[in-house]
């Protein structure tokens, strides 16, 4: 890149909210967004007059395919009574709302707008698993689709390359899953807010109540090794390595730095923002990292002046367990090829030195694709402001957090860094 990245003026985040993530037969995209907006408004201590919102940027990936309606910007703008102010939809596959966030930051940093609403929404669960798989494959390269790759398949293949290069195994991926579930247990908004142990206990109780022989798993890993409990989806990706199909929405209010304290006494500042693009699976020189994430990280770290070791809490895009390991390496939290060891040592746990995916991650919080990027930032918002409840990380002087998103097979990757001052 030529020269240093810079923002024309400072941008602050003064409110954030999300709907519950899950599979809802009785909630549509508009209702979900309203739920997220309602929570966001409640977080703005000094109040928000929606008439002050200059523009909306909305991330959405597949509603064209799943809901047969593609033009979501104005629908959400009308829902909130923002029309005729402008609404723009952003698409970056599973990173769609991370792009909405970035566009919102640019719109304010340029000086054009002062108050911008950014959000994301996705409605997936009313379709069959086959239809969702086919719809999401729209984000892969046509060569991968033709070769029979599914998204779990792409990440399965990446895992085999990582295992062969660094000596990791399925057992290491299980550490990611167990951690995600134990964090999600403490998150009431999560789709699966249960630990693996809770799931084991439920299954044992169910078997007993039916008069069947109860399974006897020694520990969580034994449960995850059991093909009846955890069947293969795309080897080595098993059911518990994969994020679910989800519905949900998220949003945040961005304002110029000088206006921040008109909205709240406790704003967060957007100090780093980065984005990269990547190639298809066959064109990558090495499958064990994402060059787009590395590029996004370089941009965001450069802008913020912070280094990987300065990031105190992070949400990363764990669409599949192996992805979390690659991301924590690509972001520089751990050395290349050592991410799996860090997870095994508990370094990324809620009470560890580098807590990752305190929300439960995409795996357990849920992954309504267009809502995910800002959904991750909602978690960082809560953590940095000390409002994460039972899952609040116990680090003292918590002030710097980051969220990383990935779209497709690494085609679009982003990193945002937030600071509390």
């Amino acid at each position: 890149m030529r020269g240093q990245r810079r923002l024309g003026r400072g941008v602050a985040m003064v409110g954030a909210g999300m709907s519950k993530f899950g599979m809802f037969s009785d909630k549509d995209s508009k209702y979900l967004f309203a739920e997220a907006f309602h929570e966001m408004v409640s977080t703005i201590d000094k109040g928000l007059d929606p008439k002050d919102i200059d523009a909306l940027y909305l991330g959405n990936f597949t509603n064209d395919f799943f809901v047969h309606q593609g033009h979501w910007g104005p629908i959400v703008s009308d829902l909130l009574g923002l029309a005729p102010r402008p609404a723009t939809r952003t698409e970056g596959a599973c990173a769609s709302s991370a792009l909405a966030f970035r566009e919102g930051v640019f719109a304010i940093a340029s000086g054009f707008y002062d108050v911008v609403l950014v959000g994301g929404v996705e409605e997936m669960s009313k379709r069959s698993t086959e239809e969702v798989t086919q719809g999401l494959a729209m984000a892969a390269s046509p060569y991968e689709v033709k070769a029979g790759f599914t998204f779990p398949g792409v990440f399965g293949a990446i895992a085999t390359a990582y295992f062969a290069k660094y000596g990791a195994s399925r057992e290491h991926l299980m550490n990611v899953t167990i951690k995600s579930h134990s964090n999600a247990r403490l998150n009431p908004k999560a789709q699966f807010n249960v630990s693996i142990r809770d799931i084991m206990d439920q299954r044992i109780a169910k078997a007993k109540s039916k008069g069947e022989i109860a399974p006897t798993w020694g520990d969580e890993k034994e449960f995850l090794r059991d093909p009846r409990a955890n069947p293969v989806v795309a080897w080595p990706m098993h059911l518990f390595d994969c994020c679910p199909i989800s519905d949900g929405a998220s949003c945040a209010l961005l304002v110029s730095e000088e206006l921040a304290r008109d909205f709240t006494d406790d704003p967060l500042y957007v100090v780093g923002i980065g984005q990269g693009s990547g190639k298809g699976l066959h064109a990558k020189e090495d499958l064990t990292y994402f060059e787009a994430t590395r590029y996004a990280a370089q941009e965001a770290y450069g802008l913020s002046g912070f280094k990987p070791e300065d990031i105190q809490v992070a949400e990363v895009h764990d669409c599949f367990s192996i992805a979390e390991i690659l991301h924590i390496e690509d972001l520089g939290f751990f050395k290349q090829g050592e991410g799996y060891k860090a997870v095994a040592e508990g370094l990324t746990r809620l009470d560890g030195p580098k807590p990752i995916n305190t929300s439960g991650g995409l795996k357990c919080k849920g992954h309504p694709v267009g809502a995910t990027g800002i959904g991750q930032l909602v978690e960082i918002w809560k953590q940095l402001r000390g409002e994460a409840g039972d899952r609040q990380v116990p680090i003292r002087d918590l002030r710097i957090g980051a969220a990383q998103s990935l779209g497709g097979t690494g085609g679009t990757c982003t990193l945002a860094i937030l600071e509390r001052r």
């Binding site: 070769a147 029979g148 599914t150 779990p152 990446i158 293969v232 080897w235 066959h282």
Partner: protein, 138 residues
């Protein structure tokens, strides 16, 4: 052959003729499979077609139990997973393709790095015919 545009339509037509073709940059000699019309190394637009010999090694793979409808129609399912992967050709380029002749229910027996040879799977007829790129252990 030289007249065909460097795109996916030509690439697919070559596959249907049992040829795996890539494009080679006339300026810097970079090889691209599937073909590119613009060299991403030196940004030249001068390409020529080149045929791959069909030998390679396995770089990464997966055994898919839940596949898209077109694979399920071939008879694959949870009990009969298919294998697909990334293959590095002897010429240096990488491609994605089906891996035949290995047992998808025994992934632990499939080793990264094994030598593979190219084959073409012709499916469907007439306007619906498609050729899938595949490899099997050599």
């Amino acid at each position: 052959m030289e007249d065909r545009p460097f795109n996916d339509i030509s690439y697919e037509r070559f596959l249907s003729e049992d040829k795996l073709m890539g494009s080679r940059c006339q300026k810097c000699d970079s090889l691209f499979v599937p073909p590119r019309s613009i060299c991403i190394n030196c940004h030249s637009f001068e390409m020529k077609w080149t045929e791959m010999k069909g030998k390679g090694k396995l770089v990464a793979f997966t055994c898919i139990a839940i596949g898209p409808p077109f694979m399920m129609r071939e008879g694959f399912d949870r009990k009969h997973p298919y294998v697909t992967g990334v293959v590095e050709l002897e010429e240096g380029a990488r491609v994605v393709g089906r891996i035949e002749g290995v047992d998808g229910t025994r992934p632990e027996n499939i080793e990264i790095g094994i030598p593979l040879k190219l084959e073409f799977l012709h499916r469907g007829e007439g306007a619906n015919s498609t050729t899938f790129l595949a490899f099997r252990p050599s």
